[in-house]
């Protein structure tokens, strides 16, 4: 099996679930860590709409409770992404991916804008039904190989069915819309820059991780 992640730098053991960090996943982990720190310290943007053809403009204010809630969701999203980066267990990884999906919905759901809410709702439906390919893929791999541990699968000797990998990748795409950012464009109308960026960054990171998993196992 191709080992694209590199050698293990650090292994954290939680019973049957290992967290392991290779140079590849460490890079992704640090990226998530830096952006979570940025989301904690930075203040939200003040978006301004300019009425076309005149001098009038609307300043969109983010109220304090809304800001606090969205910052909480952004931090939770960052933590979930960090968890997904290191996870060495297929089922645990899918759970972290679902957590990223629901925090992404949470980041934009607090906005009092009908249009943003509509987009968040549609996106939330996709994130919800994406649990079928995610859990289905993990369960299929468990049934056909008898293990969920990524290091054990990467060691070789198991015939991982193609459809299992495809289900996993499709599930992660559904949770984060990762390479198809056009689909999330409406959600990004929500004011509050650092938190919205967390949405796209987290989905990109979990997508990069699932590609690595699909190639390794």
């Amino acid at each position: 099996m191709p080992d694209i992640g590199g050698i293990d730098l650090f292994v954290l053991e939680f019973g049957d679930i290992l967290h392991y960090y290779t140079p590849y996943t460490t890079t992704l982990f640090l990226l998530a860590l830096i952006f979570t720190a940025l989301a904690i310290v930075s203040r939200p943007e003040g978006q301004i709409d300019i009425a076309f053809g005149g001098d009038a403009y609307y300043a969109k204010e983010t109220t304090l409770p809304e800001m606090r809630f969205r910052r909480f969701m952004a931090i939770a999203c960052g933590l979930a992404t960090m968890g997904a980066m290191g996870s060495g267990d297929l089922f645990n990884f899918t759970l972290f991916a679902s957590l990223v999906g629901i925090t992404n919905v949470g980041i934009v759901a607090a906005v009092k804008n009908r249009h943003v809410l509509n987009a968040a709702y549609e996106y939330g439906i996709v994130a919800m039904v994406a649990t079928l390919p995610l859990f289905g893929g993990a369960a299929l791999i468990l049934a056909t190989t008898g293990t969920l541990s990524i290091p054990a699968l990467a060691a070789g000797g198991f015939a991982v069915p193609f459809v299992g990998k495809a289900l996993l990748v499709l599930g992660v795409i559904g949770e984060g819309m990762a390479p198809f950012y056009a689909a999330k464009a409406e959600m990004f109308r929500a004011p509050g820059a650092p938190y919205v960026i967390m949405c796209s960054l987290s989905s990109l990171l979990i997508f990069l991780r699932v590609v690595e998993i699909a190639i390794t196992i």
């Binding site: 019973g15 709702y121 439906i125 919800m128 039904v129 649990t131 079928l132 289905g136 369960a139």
Partner: protein, 199 residues
């Protein structure tokens, strides 16, 4: 004879296809939300097909993820459509107004005796019963905070299991009590979240 597992997979894949086809054709927001349940069931079928103790343990997270996303999405749907008032004032059941509060207390105590997940469910039922009977102005934030702290206890119990495995008995008891409070708080909150001002 056809082996059971591929046969089960065939049925699961076929029902997944049918469920997604229904979702693809549906355009109404609320109906889409209802159709997601059809898909969640197939998800559980995929896990259950493994048929080991491990699969039994994985079903619970699978179920909880679907249920919790349903809570969040239905609340977003309600806000997005602007439904604020419940159709009727509240439950109009006469026996609920005269029911003694002691029944609720019995349920809560019995739930604590049971402890664990099912204990939390029974105790939560008692709290819902109490709120339904009485004209309540309960403090949502307080219940929420209790739920949050019990979640933290749960996490602590997990780390005791992992870092100090020799104190496993303490961790068992900690996790058991934490899940009792957590399930009770969540059930009572969901049971009283009916929308509208102080409904």
């Amino acid at each position: 004879m056809i082996p059971a597992y591929p046969l089960g997979l065939l049925v699961a894949f076929a029902s997944a296809g049918i469920a997604f086809f229904a979702l693809m054709r549906e355009t109404d927001g609320l109906h889409r939300l209802l159709l997601t349940d059809l898909i969640e069931v197939v998800t559980l079928a995929f896990i259950a097909l493994v048929g080991t103790d491990l699969a039994e343990a994985l079903i619970l997270p699978g179920l909880v993820v679907g249920a919790s996303e349903l809570i969040a999405l239905s609340e977003i749907y309600r806000i997005k459509e602007g439904y604020t008032r419940p159709p009727a004032d509240s439950l109009q059941i006469e026996v609920m107004e005269s029911a003694p509060a002691i029944l609720a207390a019995i349920l809560v105590v019995y739930g604590i005796v049971l402890s664990g997940f099912s204990g939390g469910a029974v105790a939560g039922l008692g709290v819902i019963f109490y709120f339904l009977c009485r004209d309540h102005n309960e403090r949502f934030e307080l219940i929420e905070t209790a739920s949050g702290y019990s979640w933290v206890l749960w996490i602590i119990a997990f780390f005791v299991f992992m870092i100090f495995p020799e104190y496993w008995f303490f961790a068992v008891m900690l996790a058991g009590s934490a899940i009792l409070v957590k399930v009770m708080a969540k059930m009572s909150l969901i049971g009283t979240m009916r929308g509208g001002p102080n409904a």
